[in-house]
Subunit: 352 residues, 4 copies
């Protein structure tokens, strides 16, 4: 049995971790950390857990938690983990960090996009970027720290990765238009996230400035074998859960002047994702919809070749709280713990 602690258990991602882990046969949650609600019943904050969780919220004591937990999930604001992490803690426990603190290898890039200093850059090197489908080979018995990818990034990267990796598109032309449900904005009480402000409304935000951009660029850069620079625009959609990515790129012209065919592109997707439990390459002509993955750890991807423009339109959909956060974190925990990667992640998408 794996003893688990959650720091930031009363955010939406933290609560989703609880939802998933309650049905994980190998896990006990030992610590519901929430500085805002110390000593309150956790199930009074999230009443869906009434009679399912009998525990009080606890302070964020990483020192103590490191001894109590085999794995700690930190679903915390940017900078929190970097500010408290020590080698001693890492020597006693493993950490899956849902914040961005260890996702970006170049600390200067992190500090520029996040606007804060990084307090423990010495751990960046060892952190594994936990996009399991790409990086599971980097996790081994000695891995102590997983940087769990962001929601937009998971969807964007998995959608575009096969075509970038295979060289079938020109990564310099990559434009990612992403649409997210509102749970991605967190549970903070802010006017722009009120029901009446979001409902019956749609907008872009953070245009040309969203923090997930460098994370996408770094990972797709590894796929391309050289730096890439993308346009990334997030949008807020009046729904609770779900991210839909629509990505555009020019097809890479061949030496003979021709362009890659639909079959070549499909083959790139299928060969990369063959055998992947949580990535579903849809049939030709079917567009991903967020509803078809809701509540599950699936990412649905597909693409359409536009012969008029010699571009490809790539599409991906996931549940931002599951594959985009808590589900992927559990997937990483399973990897860290030597369990089958899909343990506890058998949630069937819930429609309607």
């Amino acid at each position: 049995m794996i003893n688990v602690g959650i720091i930031g258990a009363t955010g939406y991602a933290g609560a989703e971790l609880v939802r998933i882990l309650l049905n994980h046969s190998e896990v006990q949650i030992r610590w519901f950390g929430s500085r805002s609600y110390i000593d309150e019943n956790y199930a009074d904050i999230y009443r869906n857990f009434f009679e399912l969780v009998d525990a009080k919220c606890m302070d964020d004591n990483m020192e103590e938690l490191a001894s109590a937990a085999d794995v700690i999930f930190t679903a915390t604001p940017q900078g929190y983990l970097a500010g408290v992490l020590t080698d001693d803690i890492l020597s006693r426990t493993k950490i899956v960090d849902l914040s961005a603190d260890y996702r970006i290898k170049d600390v200067a890039v992190y500090e520029k996009w996040y606007g804060i200093g990084h307090k423990s850059p010495q751990f960046i090197g060892e952190a594994v970027y936990g996009l399991c489908e790409i990086n599971r080979g980097k996790v081994n018995a000695g891995t102590r720290l997983i940087a769990n990818p962001g929601c937009y990034t998971t969807c964007s990267i998995l959608t575009a990765y096969p075509l970038v990796k295979s060289g079938l598109i020109d990564p310099d032309t990559l434009i990612i238009d992403a649409k997210s449900g509102t749970s991605g904005a967190g549970r903070g009480a802010k006017t722009p996230n009120l029901f009446c402000e979001v409902n019956e409304n749609m907008k872009a935000y953070g245009v040309a400035a969203h923090r997930h951009t460098p994370e996408i660029e770094e990972q797709l850069g590894y796929a391309a074998g050289r730096p890439v620079c993308v346009s990334f625009t997030p949008h807020l959609v009046p729904m609770n859960r779900g991210i839909l990515v629509t990505a555009y790129a020019g097809l890479q012209q061949k030496a003979d002047g021709s362009f890659p065919t639909e079959e070549e592109l499909r083959s790139a997707y299928e060969s990369l994702y063959q055998g992947e439990r949580f990535v579903r390459v849809l049939k030709k002509g079917v567009c991903p919809e967020t509803k078809w993955v809701e509540g599950s750890n699936y990412v649905d991807v597909n693409f359409v070749v536009d012969e008029r423009t010699n571009r490809v339109v790539m599409m991906g959909a996931l549940d931002n709280l599951v594959k985009g956060a808590a589900g992927q974190a559990v997937q990483n925990m399973n990897l860290l713990s030597g369990l089958p990667e899909d343990t506890g992640l058998g949630m069937v998408p819930c429609f309607p």
Copy 2:
């Protein structure tokens, strides 16, 4: 392993059965019946099941199915099962019927409210009304036919039952104001159920005429020990899932002129539902919300005593597709099959 067939697998309740049964350790679905989609891939109709279900839709051949399946779920229009059911079929398989055909013991009442003749009233007597929390004792090895309760009725009955049964309220004053998500209206392509007609809108419908009324009255009549006649008003709410019931009744005055206390009422709820896995009596002061039970088999109930009016306001919330349909059907299948009643029903409510 229980072999299961579903007739009406492409309605919302049928699809929810599939979602639940895919995670049921003791079940194999052998038959995805859907007259409208014969020979189409089931996962092309409900793409959430892509890569999870590899089967084609089949015709509604009850004769053949009775041999192939240990349990048949009929999620079909009113009158269908009554029209095809035979003693031979019941001798070869067990049936959990999600339609109303066998819910009402008095065939004249059924025919009046449903406006159709009942084609096989001879089976009404043996059918067990499958509200497990009340009637599980009536299910035994010989039970062949379960009338799975309606969504509004499950919520209404479980909300009011303790106070009717205990005689603490006057059942003649019972008024049930129910609010339902739109999945309750089914997947038929009708203008009033279009997104733009339902979204940002709220209305009552079927006022003083909804078919679930006699079903509520019959069951609460058993609790009261005499016939009861209730006001029941359903409303359509712009959400996918969830039923909220707000029920009003006058407190039953005692011989000494006093009225029952909050404690007496609470005691009635707690004694009836003690040990019930799927009924949660909330703490005093907490109102049920549909979101806290979404995707799960729970019913949350509570009440408020209004000393100004000597009335009690009872409230209940459930997911109309789970405890209000497919979840309860699986609960009944478990009972029929001698399995623990909650097998495969461990879904944790999904919030937000």
Copy 3:
């Protein structure tokens, strides 16, 4: 031209006043009061008014405003107006108060339900309860203070008034189940009003304790000619605008033992509302829907007689921000100013 000032112009009701008054041919808005946003451009707070309003938010200086404005609208928290109102102010301007401060004639009732002391009870007597359809006769040239009714109350009273007034129902049996869009909860940044908490959710709140209860009781008491005590339960619905009231009451039995007929009830509605521009008595069999009145000053009402229970189900729908707040306030301003009551209120309901 009527010079108008708004205190509380950045709440939802205040903004709706602006929306309506911009198309009112006889009005100039001189003062956009908003303590929270002093010196900010009003159109930066509500960008729907970009290029339509060129003014900055101003402080709540009632003294100065009393000289600048012919009519002041106070869309302010409970207690604000009572705390600042003076005879001098009322001698210089007229006030339409959208708060509850002067709605309830019995100051003890106000103080009990609102939990605050009333700072200027001396003005309660002269305040006219501004439910125009009932009280327009009380507004005359000398009227200085209008207590604009609440949203739930407007809908509840207009729905039940004809049957209470005509004695066709027993007011002691009146139960009002009300459902409201979320704009009724205001623009304050509170967790329970976040999109993800409200969307796909439904709940009752303030059960047996909501502040609109005594306001309903007082007005229906005038109609009944004696005190009445009602059950009132508000619910939060995942939509921006709209209130739907479903009200239940026992039909008043006649001396001969019979009950009033559908025709008698309809006659009560039609005679009371004949010629009313903003109350629409729907045809028999048609249930009010909030969408049919959205954005307009209409109230749609209707009823169904339930002969099984000898009860009537009354229904009413309005837009809580228009007829439930700003629209009715403008209707009152028109009355105060000697304009046709419907001036500037010609908004056609917006569907879908």
Copy 4:
């Protein structure tokens, strides 16, 4: 007074025409055409018009209507008007066609994208493409036929036009990612448009194949002075009204290797849209939101320069039923009739 007839009055666009024209001081609606509802009360189909419209639905008799109406609006399926239009009709009345029949000058392009033959191409030449902000100069006393632009196209074109026209972007790099509320899909009873299928869901559709593509390309081609070929992807959003366009293009490098500045781009927007009543160029840093234009004839546009990618992100928002359909049609009718272009279009955006 202008006598108006509407063919297709019971679609969403037709009903929106009615909503707008009821408040148009110079218009009388003489004909509510709706083949599906002949002889039914129009206000029984759209109950928002109860007591506001007292007329029955009539057949689509263009011959008769041509004599009764000064202007006919055809809010009809593709191909309808082309099938019935004659020179005789056009000699007796003027037509604003909300379908695509006369939008595209090249009949082969029309026939290819719409998949139907064009039955009266002889009128294509004289039809004015009714994007008033661009083409109002083409409307004169002799104009008989206006091709009212599509919803996606109006938003896309007005968003990108200034930068294409000014040569500041490379039109060959133009990618338009559009998001639409569900009223754009019409009132037809189709399963994919049911509430439960759309709500809590987001998807792209018609990828690389949507019919509005050639319309966008034709108009932007005029702006560019040469053919352009764009990527256009529509998405369905769970809201009733509103289109948001996010458009991407590479900045046109100058001879000296530099790229246009933010100021140059802003100047292009402001000079083109200066004095336009219905196009609002938002302040720098403000992203358009569909809610800020809901119910009104406004288009809000803005852009962000991304110096990292040397691209610009252009954004536009409108109400698809108003500026995207009925409002623009009324704007065109005003032009045709010699009225001020904004007559009857003073609707203030409705928020929330």
